[in-house]
Symmetry: C2
Subunit: 185 residues, 2 copies
């Protein structure tokens, strides 16, 4: 951030009175521009013992596989966001079920939230953001070609819970801030 | 948003190619400025059958009671954010336990997340953001003087679950977009 989005003046980086962290502050109009984590929301759509996966048509991780997920928008719930992303990326109509995983992607300033889901009809296809969309049997998940650590974490917990009959949710975190030279997911 | 935070030019409101919603777009440098929901994170700190409540020293809802909560920062997990807010608002050291509630505050573009928590020591006090901090027996919760609907939802579910021995989490939403003339929480 270089300029104040409210008045257009240059912003300074300083710790406001009573605060404990440096912020982007506009010394012209007084606006403090807070930077906060963003929510990425998705689901694991299941149909007849198979999982709906999408191969990404966009960066980052173009060509790699993931479950439908994307940035939460203003004006919707987490569940509505997860269902919308399935429509947008896989032309799929899903029923969102229980909370499955919450993944803190610290270096990317993101919180990823995934739900279990049920594909209502075996009808789907690649929207512009996907190269390919398909139903994959559990044993055929392409573990070596998954797009993100949060995708892998979520799918592994999903299968474990399915095997044990659990409907639990799982927290984890990934932090590559200290690993120089690595590509951000 | 009036100006591009990257280059300082005026932004336009338009729907970018391939998108489905209007965004703030800088036609000078090409930056699209997405607006997404922010995370508010808090907890219900319990000690010996009582709950730690704070009376707000700041707007909105100055003078009303709430549990420790605030905006999640970059670089932390939800649990770390909840513990930090207890330190900052109540000078309290808490152990964060299970997920309790997720409240979509649609009109405010916020997602509120609360955890159960345990106050490690009966040591606390008002930090600058609080007028007063105290341990309150369950039967003495000031229901009519709570700061936010998400506070009330969270405390009611907390007590119900305690009574039934449940460790569940609960989703809800509040949407005042269509109720003109009401004060935003």
């Amino acid at each position: 951030m270089n300029f104040c989005s409210h008045c257009g003046a240059r912003v300074a980086t300083l710790t406001p009175p009573g605060d404990h962290l440096p912020r982007f502050v506009c010394e012209s109009c007084g606006t403090i521009h807070y930077q906060n984590p963003k929510l990425i929301v998705g689901c694991v759509p299941e149909y007849a013992g198979q999982i709906l996966l999408c191969r990404r048509a966009i960066e980052p991780r173009l060509g790699y596989w993931t479950v439908p997920a994307g940035f939460m928008e203003n004006g919707e719930t987490l569940q509505q966001a997860a269902a919308r992303e399935s429509r947008e990326e896989a032309l799929a109509d899903v029923e969102i079920l229980s909370l499955l995983s919450v993944v803190h992607v610290i270096h990317a300033h993101q919180v990823h939230v995934f739900f279990r889901a049920r594909l209502r009809e075996p009808s789907f296809g690649p929207a512009p953001e996907s190269l390919e969309v398909k139903l994959v049997p559990h044993a055929a998940i392409p573990w070596g070609e998954l797009a993100f650590p949060s995708t892998e974490f979520t799918l592994r917990r999903y299968l474990e819970d399915l095997a044990s009959g659990s409907d639990a949710h799982h927290f984890t975190e990934f932090d590559r801030r200290l690993q120089a030279g690595r590509v951000k997911p």
